[in-house]
């Protein structure tokens, strides 16, 4: 859910999210804690891949609460609130910690039909995110976020044949300008203001694998994030919030729904950055526990609705 925050932080969570083709049934609320830990030693300064003795290993821990409520079986509302902690193993830069940005998403499935041997479904997804605390953005790579308010619009298509599926999605992320604690700053020119122009970004994602929504999902995920503008980190300089941060990540995600306790599921996964620009080459692991609460009185058993 925090994919829109790909930065040096690279706190991603690939669990049941705004980016997958799973809809909660009406009045079902899936909620749970999620942990994600990532670290990197190498990073791309512009296109130059390097290490930095003044940083050592940069690690990020992210603890978040995520939820997904089925307004109807075709309209879901999702949210996420992460707490992020960063640390560098060497050098003098202090790690940062705090509550980061609230994300709220609406996921709408206007189309679901049998097409050929499988089922095709289409989704329109919109999300906003806003910082919940006044953390420092201009302290990369150790700041916990970028302070930018964002609006994401995503189109997604999913096709499932039996238990095999593939999902593709494309997202455009509008990002609002931010202000930093400086009266002037230099990017490629001098700016005599504390306002920083944040370039928009886009993201596309392909995921495919095995899916039996009620029991087990195993999927591989490729995600490409491209910042539409910005500048390269200047040589030997700190990163800046409006850098052109690009990254390609490959990941695996597993979700297992327990038989013994209905509604309880475990998720886990990991990903690694395979290419990038102005980002850390991070690898991350994540895990979480989700429980589905059924607010509709009529059935006790709660489950995700889609394509069992």
């Amino acid at each position: 859910m925090a994919l829109c925050l790909i930065t040096f932080i690279h706190a991603t969570a690939n669990a049941q999210t705004d980016a997958d083709a799973i809809m909660m049934a009406k009045n079902n609320f899936c909620v749970g804690p999620m942990y994600s830990g990532s670290h990197w030693t190498d990073y791309w300064e512009g296109t130059l891949k390097r290490t930095n003795d003044n940083l050592g290993i940069v690690s990020t821990q992210m603890y978040s609460v995520m939820g997904n409520y089925g307004l109807t079986s075709r309209v879901n509302l999702l949210f996420s609130v992460p707490y992020v902690e960063t640390q560098a193993s060497a050098g003098t830069l202090h790690g940062q910690k705090g509550i980061q940005d609230l994300s709220v998403w609406a996921k709408w499935m206007p189309f679901e039909k049998k097409v050929g041997p499988g089922t095709l479904s289409l989704y329109g997804i919109g999300g906003v995110s806003t910082p919940l605390t006044n953390y420092i953005a201009d302290y990369l790579p150790l700041s916990i976020g970028l302070q930018s308010k964002t609006l994401s619009l995503r189109a997604m298509a999913d096709y499932q044949v039996g238990s095999l599926f593939a999902t593709v999605s494309g997202t455009y992320v509008f990002r609002k300008n931010i202000t930093i604690d400086r009266t002037s700053y230099y990017t490629t020119t001098l700016h005599l203001t504390n306002e920083v122009e944040m370039p928009d970004a886009n993201q596309y994602s392909i995921r495919a694998g095995y899916r039996r929504t009620d029991r087990l999902i195993v999927e591989g995920i490729f995600t490409r994030w491209t910042t539409l503008g910005g500048f390269d980190i200047t040589r030997n300089n700190m990163p800046f919030p409006s850098n052109r941060m690009n990254s390609s990540t490959l990941g695996v995600n597993i979700k297992y729904s327990l038989k013994a306790i209905n509604g309880l599921s475990l998720i886990g996964g990991g990903d690694m950055t395979i290419a990038g620009q102005n980002v850390g080459q991070s690898s991350s692991l994540n895990g979480g526990i989700f429980y589905v609460i059924d607010f509709s009185a009529k059935h006790k058993a709660s489950k995700t609705l889609k394509k069992a």
């Binding site: 307004l71 609406a106 709408w108 609006l151 001098l190 700016h191 200047t234 040589r235 030997n236």
Partner: protein
């Protein structure tokens, strides 16, 4: 959910997006991007009598007297200027507005920009030592770290001195053509960075 409700939800969501979109105006303005033209309190009409610092006196660099105002060359030049003024492009107008804020301010900003740009150590050699810039090829990487405080102070001083040592021709002064003496003010001004 009824169809009507569904449509209502979609409308609410869409409206929210649109409101946000329009509030996402990009583009930033610096404090000094738009300034009224500088109106100096004093014209320094007697600048020719100031004590010079780098020069022995105003006559070190004599400036040729302009041609007579009645000469063809003068009139042609004047007409050329008038023609150019009548055909100012928006880009030229922007530049005029920019420099109207005063050259002391603008040159100071340009210097600050250079200081900010060069205020970085060069990328280290494989053995962890720092490479030396090549004096014969000063614009090649590694760049000179010309923005450490002593270098930066010197750069501000050079540009302030060069900027202030401008020549002008002033009618009514029989002595001839005077350079503007190095005004101490721009130097003091530059020291705040």
């Amino acid at each position: 959910m009824t169809m009507k409700n569904k449509i209502r939800y979609i409308h609410i969501i869409a409206a929210g997006f649109i409101v946000l979109l329009f509030s996402c105006a990009k583009g930033i303005n610096g404090r000094t991007d738009v300034l009224a033209p500088l109106a100096p309190a004093k014209t320094d009409i007697n600048a020719g009598d100031w004590k010079t610092i780098l020069l022995a006196g105003p006559t070190d660099f004599p400036v040729a007297a302009p041609t007579a105002v009645t000469s063809t060359a003068y009139i042609a030049e004047l007409n050329e200027i008038k023609a150019l003024q009548n055909a100012i492009t928006p880009d030229q107008q922007t530049k005029i507005s920019y420099w109207n804020a005063g050259s002391t301010l603008r040159w100071n900003e340009l210097l600050r920009q250079l200081v900010a740009k060069y205020n970085l150590p060069p990328y280290q050699n494989a053995d962890g030592t720092y490479p030396f810039p090549n004096a014969n090829n000063p614009f090649a990487y590694p760049l000179f770290p010309f923005a450490n405080p002593p270098y930066a102070a010197r750069a501000y001083a050079y540009v302030s001195a060069a900027r202030s040592t401008m020549h002008w021709w002033q009618p009514g002064i029989t002595k001839g053509y005077i350079p503007v003496p190095l005004h101490i003010k721009p130097m003091q001004r530059s020291s705040h960075v």
